[in-house]
């Protein structure tokens, strides 16, 4: 029974339960609606809720837990001798799963018979040949233990799914029956249903916490694994970044310093573009511009914020890069070798951040009370004097918060640097040279061909961890400053 059908049947049980529960409540009150504690639909909803919710919870838990049991069983079937040099148990298990899926697909498409697929005595060469013939991707030739494990895997999955279906259906029916039994005219169905809904609401709100936990756990475990394979001190203090994908990354040098430098340098360039332009734009829009100009210019600037970063990436790579080269390149000043450089990425990222800085600053400047402006104008100050000497100092904490938020954006930005900054990790002061960042390297390490168990891939998690900690720190500080600032004028 496929998952789809299982879900459909549980839903059908819930709907039936709804109808029955409603009818039972009405009949217990002798058809007299007003004799019921709650509206009839609440009795139905109570039954539906009690049959569907536990059943789906069980389903989700089972789906999460089953792979563990199956994996550990399968893992025991594979002798150490079957794990090739330079490979790992994880890779072999992935191979097993791939083979099992290949067999499934081949059976489904009718290329081989089910008997043949589960035949324990089948020759693995034969199976490999048949699978390839059936168009199932087989990366390397299947070995005998892998084939056995794959067959066992299929058996376990099939029986696991069977028992899961039984259990889920039983829970659904039991829930429905229990709820039907308690249904009578005095049962407080509305209160029960509302409690249930509230629990669902709390569950939904808790997803934010689960997400954070998920992020932290996935970073921590993989980072710990990385530090087991690669010394943490070399990672944090290493001055060279040169991953070697060959030989399981044994000779890689994975120092984060050049990446942090690239990240920092590009962010500084970006902020140097975005902060003055954004701030002046915000001041002009909030203090000088007529309502008409404001109504046109503000949304137009904000369009810049709505453009996906991939567009900016392409803009950096194909428009800004070549443009800068034509000025600073060999035909111009001769200090820029290629289009991808710190300057390119920083400039484009700065453009992206302009509306971010300007709309945050605009809000903050508008939060400065009108009385401050009146006080200053009343003393005969010009607008610019008022802005420079009264409004900006008053808004300073808020603006600092906005800039920190923009900095955290810049540090976490990926596509612009992947396309615009280049790939070479370098410690250099020349902004016209290519450098690379933490985010760009996360992408390149995890989209390459390296296997997940090797340090060259795992390093991405350590990079991610660093990125997460840095941006989180910046955000917390920035949000704190902004909140304090708002409280001051509330």
């Amino acid at each position: 029974m496929s998952l789809f059908w299982l879900i459909l049947i549980v839903l059908a049980i819930a709907v039936t339960g709804y109808v029955l529960g409603r009818a039972r409540a009405l009949s217990s009150a002798g058809g007299e609606r007003s004799a019921l504690h709650s509206l009839p639909s609440y009795y139905g909803a109570n039954v539906a809720m009690k049959s569907a919710v536990p059943a789906f919870l069980l389903l989700i838990c089972w789906l999460l837990a089953q792979p563990f049991f199956i994996n550990s069983t399968i893992s025991d079937m594979i002798p150490d001798s079957a794990i090739a040099e330079g490979s790992s148990r994880g890779l072999v298990l992935a191979e097993v799963r791939r083979t099992a899926r290949g067999l499934d697909n081949a059976v489904a498409s009718g290329a081989i018979e089910d008997d043949f697929a589960s035949n324990a005595r089948a020759d693995f060469n034969d199976v490999t040949a048949r699978l390839k013939e059936a168009g199932q991707i087989v990366t390397s030739d299947i070995t005998q233990p892998v084939l056995r494990a794959a067959q066992q895997y299929r058996v376990l999955v099939a029986s696991g799914n069977f028992y899961m279906s039984i259990a889920v259906l039983l829970v659904a029916i039991a829930g429905a029956l229990w709820a039907l039994r308690e249904t009578n005219k005095d049962f407080r169905a509305r209160n029960t249903v509302e409690q249930g809904i509230k629990a669902i609401l709390i569950g939904a709100a808790s997803i934010a916490i689960l997400t954070t936990i998920g992020i932290v756990l996935s970073l921590v475990f993989n980072t710990a694994e990385f530090f087991r394979l690669y010394p943490a001190s070399d990672f944090f203090f290493g001055l060279t970044w040169s991953p070697s994908f060959s030989g399981r990354g044994g000779s890689s040098e994975l120092g984060i310093i050049p990446l942090l430098w690239g990240t920092f340098y590009i962010s500084v360039v970006a902020l140097a573009v975005a902060v003055p332009i954004g701030l002046f734009a915000a001041v002009y829009l909030s203090e000088y511009a007529s309502p008409k100009v404001r109504a046109v210019a503000k949304p137009l600037l904000e369009v810049l914020a709505g453009i996906p970063t991939i567009v900016y990436g392409l803009f950096a790579l194909l428009t800004v890069g070549p443009m800068l080269v034509s000025v600073f390149g060999d035909n111009g000043l001769g200090i820029m070798k290629a289009g991808t450089a710190v300057m390119t990425a920083g400039l484009v990222m700065g453009i992206m951040l302009i509306p971010f800085v300007s709309s945050l600053s605009d809000d903050i400047i508008n939060a400065v009370p009108q009385a401050m402006r009146d006080g200053s104008y009343g003393l005969g100050a010009t607008k610019s004097e008022t802005v420079k000497q009264v409004i900006l100092p008053a808004a300073l904490p808020g603006i600092v918060g906005a800039i920190l938020l923009a900095a955290s954006r810049a540090i976490g930005e990926t596509m612009i640097v992947v396309l615009g900054a280049g790939a070479a990790a370098r410690l250099s002061l020349n902004p016209f040279e290519a450098m690379t960042t933490v985010t760009a390297k996360i992408v390149s390490q995890l989209t390459g061909d390296a296997d997940f168990a090797s340090p060259v891939a795992l390093v991405a998690f350590a990079l991610g961890m660093t990125l997460f900690v840095v941006t989180l720190g910046l955000n917390i500080v920035a949000l704190y400053i902004v909140r304090k600032y708002r409280e001051q004028y509330d």
């Binding site: 009370p369 401050m372 006080g375 200053s376 009343g378 005969g380 100092p393």
Partner: protein, 265 residues
């Protein structure tokens, strides 16, 4: 305070400091001030009274062109200070406001130190050539505002940390520091408690000796206490203007009488 009306009557004949002629103010389509003519005497306190929304604050703000900062606000007619039309295109509102200072309803010290609050005006207008001159201006302004003894030891502390009454006197000191000739006060005591109000009223009375003061107030008692002349505004019209005593004891207009006897307001 008792002899004041006499002094007032004696100076009534001197040339007026501010003279308004057929002033109209529009907010968009709303005709907020209609045909206001008034002469304001130098070195005296003139009070504008009237029910809320009568236009007294609006008219006050036309005297130093604070209404310029409001979009859709239009002023017609002429207002002359020392015979010069302040709405003449040659006049820079910035220069005008240095001559005509303003104190607002709610104390609005800048989020700076007490010293910097006072020094702000002199700095932007270039009134001090060096630090010691600036120090002198700050201390003398604070003295004139009667605040010196309270704050002389904490000039570095933020002005926002003072009590409401102190903040308002700080704002008055801030206005004085630019050495204006006219000080406009828009309900300066409405946000203050009675004790702080008494101190500010006392200060206004002292300042009268050197400055022409126009004060908008919603309190008739306050007008009676501090002003020599009173103008009564109603629905954007100047109903009656004259020596304070006359207005309160012997109003000519029925509306004024109704207002001061509390029939509306």
């Amino acid at each position: 305070m008792n002899e004041m009306p006499n002094i007032e009557q004696a100076t009534a004949m001197t040339e007026s400091k501010i003279s308004a002629d057929k002033v109209q103010v529009y907010y968009g389509d709303n005709h907020a001030i209609k045909d206001v003519d008034i002469e304001i005497q130098p070195r005296s306190v003139t009070a504008f009274i009237g029910p809320s929304g009568c236009g007294k604050s609006t008219f006050l703000r036309t005297i130093n062109r604070m209404n310029d900062t409001i979009e859709f606000c239009r002023v017609e007619g002429s207002i002359r200070i020392d015979g010069e039309d302040i709405y003449d295109p040659k006049v820079d509102p910035v220069q005008l406001r240095a001559k005509v200072g303003m104190v607002f309803q709610k104390p609005n010290p800048f989020p700076k130190s007490i010293y910097d609050n006072i020094a702000y005006g002199p700095r932007i207008h270039g009134l001090a050539r060096n630090k010691s001159e600036l120090d002198d201006i700050v201390s003398s302004s604070l003295q004139k505002a009667g605040l010196w003894d309270e704050v002389k030891d904490r000039l570095d502390e933020p002005g926002t940390g003072m009590s409401g009454g102190q903040q308002q006197r700080l704002c008055i000191a801030r206005a004085i520091a630019v050495s204006p000739e006219v000080i406009l006060m828009d309900e300066p005591c409405s946000a203050l408690d009675p004790i702080a109000t008494a101190k500010v009223e006392e200060l206004i009375d002292e300042l009268r000796e050197n400055y022409t003061i126009v004060i908008v107030t919603h309190s008739m008692q306050q007008a009676a206490r501090v002003s020599q002349r009173t103008a009564f505004f109603h629905l954007g019209v100047l109903v009656e203007e004259g020596p304070t005593d006359n207005i309160f004891t012997n109003p000519k207009d029925k509306r004024t009488q109704d207002y001061i006897t509390g029939r509306f307001g």
